[in-house]
């Protein structure tokens, strides 16, 4: 969708796409239109020192889940997802706002907010306080919005729960595939943990006229018991 005329050079305007709106993520599975479905994710290749522990934990978690004792997670405790996982949580919508100099991304699940500062240089990694959303800068490159994010703290679970270091850099390319389908190609680069960058794409459908719903996690009944098992609190 071309719906903005932005001044590029004095006296000229260039049609520019807009990613503003409310979007709902959809997967590549059942019923997905191959013309707009996200392409398969690239491989995850951790350095051996990280791969061994990660695989062991993943296997242990799978076994526990099979026994009906799923492992606890940060989200289970109502801790927000942070980047990059916050960009697609189940079928919760994501709202993108475009204002002069800034693009703001608000997720419905856990009400997470990212601010993308447009046409600014990225800060050196060591100057960004580690957090859930880091520091994001963006620029339009042709029909793609390219967003660079650094400063995600190491305790924020990574893609597929992979570990990451404070050197992680996330590069997103948001592009309209059709007027009502948006793709976000995400590249995760972490020279400390990864053998090579992880690349995967999230896909979204536009939700016309949808009004975002509040999400305050104030009635969380899931908890972890003394044996480390996820339980549901009863007796209210």
């Amino acid at each position: 969708m071309i719906c903005a005329l932005a001044p590029d050079v004095v006296g000229q305007t260039t049609p520019r796409p807009s990613v503003a709106g409310v979007w709902v993520p959809f997967g590549a599975g059942r019923g997905a239109d191959p013309a707009v479905a996200p392409p398969p994710a690239g491989p995850v290749a951790l350095k051996p020192a990280y791969a061994k522990e990660y695989l062991a934990q993943r296997a242990a978690d799978a076994e526990a889940t099979k026994r009906g004792e799923p492992p606890p997670s940060a989200a289970m405790g109502c801790v927000p997802y942070g980047m990059p996982r916050m960009m697609a949580i189940a079928s919760y919508p994501v709202e993108i706002l475009e204002t002069p100099g800034q693009i703001t991304i608000i997720t419905e699940a856990f009400s997470e907010v990212r601010r993308v500062f447009m046409d600014q240089p990225q800060l050196p990694m060591d100057e960004v306080p580690p957090g859930y959303y880091g520091h994001s800068v963006g620029r339009w490159q042709g029909d793609s919005l390219v967003v660079d994010t650094v400063g995600i703290k190491e305790s924020v679970p990574g893609y597929q729960n992979t570990p990451h270091s404070d050197r992680m850099r996330i590069t997103e390319r948001l592009r309209l595939i059709t007027p009502d389908v948006l793709h976000d190609q995400i590249t995760i680069d972490d020279p400390v943990v990864l053998e090579k960058p992880i690349v995967y794409t999230l896909a979204y459908r536009r939700m016309p006229d949808y009004k975002m719903v509040e999400f305050v996690c104030d009635n969380n009944r899931e908890y972890v018991d003394e044996r480390g098992r996820v339980r549901m609190r009863l007796g209210r």
Partner: protein, 153 residues
């Protein structure tokens, strides 16, 4: 995790990396689950319970129905977990769909540990309407996301 993957940590070097690639390469473009795994519920053995609503909590991260279920002279109090308001609204629910005193019948997946807690599958309201646990991409049996939890990111 593919069958047999629990043996992979014993393998070293290049083969280990190949195995890891194989395990994770096929799960692209799939949103993560919202709050927690539902493995603590026995979704393979749903049960039907009928009773009187004592509370309907329209809250996050989950909506809850509190239900008194009479079996003869004995009354058992059940908690029923649903999706979140966002998901449920897209499946036809409203914050005032249920109220204290309503009589309902619910198909639920009970907790595996035998406690009277459960995950909603679908409910028949006092007026005969049937509602599931969210929209087409909601949660719970019959309305689960298109990809198994093992493939979710």
């Amino acid at each position: 995790m593919a069958p047999g993957m629990n043996k992979m940590p014993r393998v070293h070097g290049g083969l280990l990396r190949v195995a890891l690639v194989a395990a994770l390469a096929s799960s692209g473009g799939t949103p993560a689950r919202a709050h927690h795994s539902f493995a603590m519920f026995d979704t393979a053995r749903p049960i039907t319970i009928s009773g009187v609503v004592t509370a309907f909590e329209w809250t996050n991260p989950h909506v809850y129905i509190e239900l008194d279920v009479a079996e003869g002279a004995k009354v058992t109090h059940w908690a029923i977990e649903l999706g979140s308001p966002s998901i449920l609204m897209r499946g036809g629910w409203k914050f005032n769909t249920l109220k204290k005193g309503d009589t309902i019948t619910a198909l639920v997946s009970p907790l595996r540990n035998g406690e009277p807690g459960s995950l909603l599958n679908r409910v028949t309201l006092a007026d005969g309407r049937v509602l599931g646990n969210g929209g087409p991409a909601g949660i719970g049996p019959g309305t689960s996301t298109s990809t198994p939890p093992s493939q979710q990111r």
